[in-house]
Amino acid sequence: MMRRILTVVLPTAALLGVSSQASAQENQLTGPLAGAPAVRGLRLHRKQRFEIAPAISFTLLDEFQRHILLGGRLTYNVTDWLGLGVWGAFGAVKQTTGLSDRIQEANDQRFKQSDPNFSTGQASTGRTLVRANVGKDFKQQLGAINWIFAPQITAVPFRGKLSLFQKIFVDTDAYFFAGPAFVNLREREDCGGSTGVDCSARDGSGPDPGNVRPAATKGTQSRMAIAPTFGLGLNFYTGQWTSIGFEWRALLYSWNTGGFDTAGGGEGGRFPDAKIDKSDREFKFNQMITLSFGMQFPRTIKQSD
């Protein structure tokens, strides 16, 4: 076993050890090119230009609901490698995941009085336990992104070009961005405890002596989460003033995506407490990918020495 590990580790270490001597393009020149810039006549797609980029974003790894956000990015590039701007988007399309659909189906079945198991004690207990967490229309209680606004700094350390099939050549840059994001969320409203809102309120009015009615559709409330956002992207310049962009973005904040009572009680607050409040929010590494079409102004482009 040890020998096997060594046979992997030692060659790898050796390879890494010699790699530092052979740099990307032998830029330790001593001839007439010594000290020359890496690139001459570079087209400055960004320097002192505004970029307006309509964009569409798709959230990733959603548990209960996927989002498609429409928006855009406005950036002023102070230099070719530094830009200041904002990105904003609103949740235009919200699509439930298979898990949400499954929960909805199971809940509908649970309260279907024609089901042969409906009258069993186990089914009755299930209905009682689930009412605090699942409303009649489950989709309505899911956490959702209303809109996001994020001022951000963009750094463009990498600039180059790519060849596609040796036929098409496109100027390209790779960039990083970071900033604070203001995320307007819709979540299940607080209930239980001192709120005066019954978490298990029945659908319809009046008592439910037979324990047969599902819970009412849960109410929601909006709030603002302030979260760090960062990511990286690629811009492919299709012309002097147009580009196509692709970027990945992370947003770090806590929210209650399913509208469930999951925490706040028991040891360490890791168990349900019959309340919906901020303790039920879970920290998420929210991710999305964005496609954009950029337009740079002024439309004329400068070139480096």
């Binding site: 990307a24 689930v130 350390p157 790519l162 060849s163 349900p272």
Partner: protein, 334 residues
């Protein structure tokens, strides 16, 4: 014969290179747009001319002065006739009979590359690519794992190879059941069938249509390429008993799995690169049955399996690429 062929190739290459040097403005990869400024260094170059490049009137007065015994300019020999030159005067039979207009109009089927001398040639090289993979689309169970890919480049853009990923190396289990599952089961009283992976292996074809280079911080240059990869193989997995863990214990089963993906490779030098890849593994999964058979039938294995959906496992693979042999010789001169 092979050597002669190579010599011929080399001569052709020199001719093509000479032609390229003669017309650099029309053969540049990045043709300047209309009104593009000349390089700022152009004026400087003019100032830096070597003495031998300078025009006669620029020469110092003492060097421009003709020697006292020099013959008059009118005594200089006449320019030779166009076409033959001196050889035609000496031996007319050796005078070349070339129609220069026809020769200039003749089409030369030279193979011209838009980018000369790729930084890292891949043809006839083996790529060894150890990687670490992690799941991008399974919020219930993540499947991080080490893996290894080995590819042989038949041409500079096409490779055939194999890759394998080991999700339970050396008896460990890297599959991670998320706490989210337990929370959902408790809150909504619904069981979500979960699956853990054992290993996967595939035969793949790789195509590299994109390559390019980046200047980093305007200071150094590195090269990259992007590729598409696809193949066919097996993926072994098994359900995690969630619905009826008292009775059910599942054994791993292999499933036929197709895969397709995209990758990006960034070269640190001509044989060492970082690789990032997103790969979809598509297979027909077998999930745990969400209902439990009544009585003793619950122990019957035939009742344990339920749906057989097509599963798409989207996996990110991050690793290193080592190209062997480390060096090579270009076929054509730069």
């Amino acid at each position: 014969m092979r050597k002669g062929y190579r010599m011929n190739q080399g001569r052709m290459g020199l001719l093509v290179a000479a032609a390229l040097l003669a017309v650099p403005a029309s053969a540049s990869a990045q043709t300047p747009g209309k009104g593009a400024k000349p390089p700022a260094g152009a004026d400087k170059k003019a100032d830096d001319k070597k003495p031998e490049d300078a025009k006669p009137e620029d020469k110092p007065a003492d060097s421009a002065a003709a020697p006292a015994d020099a013959p008059p300019a009118s005594d200089a020999p006449a320019a030779p006739d166009a076409g033959g030159g001196g050889i035609c005067d000496l031996d007319p039979s050796q005078c070349p009979q070339v129609d220069f207009d026809a020769a200039a109009a003749k089409k030369i089927p030279a193979q011209m590359y838009a980018v000369q001398q790729l930084y890292a040639l891949r043809v006839r090289r083996v790529e060894v690519n150890p990687y670490w993979s992690f799941t991008l689309n399974d919020q219930f169970v993540s499947h991080p794992a080490p893996g290894l890919a080995i590819n042989y480049y038949v041409t500079n853009v096409l490779a055939v190879g194999v890759n394998g990923t080991w999700y339970r190396p050396f008896g460990s289990n890297l599959n991670q059941d998320s706490s989210f599952n337990a929370q959902t089961r408790r809150a909504a009283r619904i069981g979500v069938p979960l699956t853990e992976y054992d290993w996967s292996a595939a035969l793949n074809f790789t195509y590299v249509p994109v390559y390019g280079k980046f200047a980093g911080f305007g200071d150094f240059i590195f090269h990259y390429d992007a590729y598409i990869v696809g193949g066919l193989g097996m993926l072994s997995n098994r359900p995690i008993a969630v619905i009826d863990p008292d009775n059910r214990t599942f054994q791993s089963k292999g499933h036929l799995a197709f895969n397709a993906g995209l990758g990006l490779r960034i070269f640190f030098n001509r044989w060492f690169a970082a690789v990032g890849e997103v790969r979809n593994y598509v297979f027909r999964d077998e999930l745990e049955n969400t209902t439990i058979a009544p009585g003793k039938a619950a122990a019957d294995k035939s009742t344990w399996y339920g749906d057989k959906p097509v599963t798409v496992n989207v996996q990110a693979q991050v690793g290193l690429a080592i190209f062997l042999p480390f060096s090579w010789e270009y076929r054509l001169p730069k």
